[in-house]
Amino acid sequence: MIATVPLALTDLGLAALLVLANAAVDLVLRLGLGRRLLLAAVRAAVQLALLGWVLGLVFETEGPGAVLLVTLVMATVAGVEAVRRGSRRVPGIFAASIGVMLVSSFAVTSYGLLVVLDIPEPWYTPQYAVPLLGMVLGNALNGISLGLDAALEGFDEDRARVELLLAHGATRREAAAPVLRRAARRGMIPILNAMIAVGVISVPGMMTGQLLAGADPETAARYQLFILFAIAGGVALGTIGVVLAAERLVFDERDRLRVDRIRRLES
């Protein structure tokens, strides 16, 4: 294995010069993005420094408590963010989104750790569990927010067709099926596209990190594929889960489509 080149803080300072290119474009074209650019760069630096610090603490702990806590916090933040990105809300959707995020990422990560990697250490060893969970969550977030938004939009805008089916004796599931199918597709298409493009159009972030950290390319590629499959699994579970949760929340106990529960946000 090639040795990892250590990255000192002064090196990061040099890297920060690259952001000056953005600043130059901003100045020349008068985009008015100066404050935002500064804020984004500082935020990224602070957040990653915090992540490094927290992971350092977590890596030193023994027992599953710390990993479970990190999982809970990350899934909660991701669940809230998935709803916040959408243009419509329905009561109960935050809890549902967090729950779906937790279950789907936890299921996929445990499968990856216990079955695929079959690591000799306990499954909750933070060095494996936390990064895998982070990759799955970050990508499931995308699918879940797209699927959720498409589902609520579908029920809201396609109400007449859903009710046409209901009025002719369809069950809730039969009436909702066209909307659910469209929403699930919308949630899953980005990861399918990513799988098609990977390696040809882009060198994925995880593999880049591994290569820079000294891993040999074949191992890095294998890990990347494993991560990609784990992400695809997380996205599929999460998208289906949140789309079904949305269905439950917009229908009532007599299978009535309650569009009055859907709140549109100002865009």
Binding site: A160, L166, A167, H168, E174, L257
Partner: protein, 191 residues
Amino acid sequence: MGSLEVRGLTRAPWWRDLDLALKEGEIAVLRGPSGSGKTLLLRALADLDPVDAGEVSLDGRAREATAPPMWRRAVRYAQQGAPCLPGTVEENVAAVATLLNVSPTPAPGLDPRADAGRLSGGEAQRLALHRALLGAPKVLLLDEVTAALDRDAAAEAEARVQAFAREGGSVLWVSHDVALAQRLGAREVSL
């Protein structure tokens, strides 16, 4: 078959303590100013909208004792605006026939291969009435289903509804056509 009873139905602020009885074979025309909740009443009877209070029963059986899909098969609502499913006229009829577990029958006066999304308002209403009559419902709740039809087509639609009533079905029909009740020999109900 087809005796619908409504007691104390309330949906504030539209209507309160509404009583209504439709006997077998009876056609009633529901009238009232715009915004008085006529469509809302039909939707509530089809169990597509909730009410604040009240009871609805069909042939003496309470609505709550019937599963929603079974209730809506029996108490059939034809929506205002006559929306269509994607696909052709034939596919629209087939989709509904499959839900109702009956054989599809061709919609009279319509090209079965026509794209349902491109039908005129009147054609869509003919399709909607045809769908609503599939699978022998007991009650028809019609929401302006002939508003876009010319006189001949409207007469044909009215004849289909009258034939349905002669077989024991009951009908509650929302219409702005002032002469409809008289033509059908129907009772008028005001909201």
